[in-house]
């Protein structure tokens, strides 16, 4: 996240410059709607909560101390709005209950390992992103975005707060009312699932058949 670039926008935002508002919205709106959805459920309600939060953000700009990065400050406002919205809708989500049901069993099917605990599959290094692959990367990111939406809610909440927003574990546990052990199990399952999704797109041919030498 380009947090320093956000700081550069601050004077223009405070001056009420429309182009600066647009820029800020384009940078953050998408991730904020995903995050709000953790609390509100349906995307339309998340969208409304975030739009309300944006107005709170611009009216509160003079009170922003600069202590936290602007993006993190906005995230806090959005989470408050989303939680209030969920409470108003009578939507009480117990992440502790969800965590219990979402954390059962191993993250990886035992069948993916040999009886002695060795992997039954071979992994190959993923290519790093290049300009030539940009279109393919965009598709990959879109599919990972879809996979994020289909994660069970507590797993989605944790992966968004930890891996996307970069919050500290203690803060995440406070926000969701779960233990750090819960949080790590949920995070692990989410990451494992997302890696599988990415791997299926990046390495469509499993290394079980013999692969022509030219590929190597």
């Amino acid at each position: 996240m380009a947090l320093d670039e956000d700081a550069a926008l601050l004077p223009r935002l405070r001056a009420g410059e429309e182009a600066a508002f647009r820029e800020l919205v384009r940078r953050h709106h998408g991730r904020l709607v995903r995050l709000a959805g953790v609390f509100t459920g349906a995307r339309a309600r998340a969208e409304e909560a975030v739009q309300d939060a944006w107005v709170v953000v611009v009216t509160g700009l003079d009170g922003y101390s600069g202590e936290a990065p602007l993006g993190a400050w906005i995230t806090g406002i959005v989470m408050n709005k989303a939680r209030n919205r969920a409470a108003r809708d009578g939507r009480v989500v117990s992440f502790a209950d969800l965590a219990r049901s979402e954390a059962e069993g191993p993250a990886l099917e035992p069948g993916r390992f040999m009886p002695d605990g060795h992997w039954a599959e071979r992994f190959s290094a993923w290519p790093s992103p290049t300009p030539e692959r940009e279109a393919g990367d965009r598709q990959l990111l879109a599919r990972i975005g879809d996979a994020l939406e289909t994660l069970p809610p507590a797993q989605r909440a944790v992966v968004l707060l930890r891996d996307v927003e970069g919050h500290e574990p203690a803060a995440i546990c406070r926000a969701l009312g779960i233990t750090e052990a819960n949080m790590r199990v949920l995070l692990h399952r989410a990451r494992t699932r997302l890696r599988d999704v990415a791997a299926a797109l990046i390495e469509p041919a499993p290394a079980k058949r013999s692969i022509p030498a030219t590929r190597l």
């Binding site: 009420g16 709106h29 998408g30 953000v57 191993p106 992997w119 990111l141 879109a142 990451r191």
Partner: protein, 80 residues
């Protein structure tokens, strides 16, 4: 030393540095001798970076112009 299965199931605890030192050393030792698990762990870390990019590349607001106008109005002195 832990098995590949144990290492794969502990990947997050390892990366979050939330393991007792003894277990952490076990994972570290396994990774030293197991290239397949090293690759898996690299992919696992790569996934975290991909997730961050994927979450940012989300659809724009339903009605960006209206939203930006509302923000501008809220910011204009004397608007309220």
């Amino acid at each position: 030393m832990p098995t590949c299965q144990e290492v794969a199931e502990q990947a997050t605890e390892y990366l979050e540095k939330a393991m007792p030192r003894r277990e952490r050393l076990g994972v570290w030792a396994h990774l030293r001798v197991c290239p397949n698990c090293r690759t898996y762990l690299r992919q696992f870390m790569g996934t975290i970076a991909l997730t961050r990019r994927a979450a940012a590349a989300a659809p724009p607001p339903d009605d960006e112009d209206r939203l930006v106008a509302a923000m501008k109005a809220a910011r204009t002195p004397g608007a309220d």
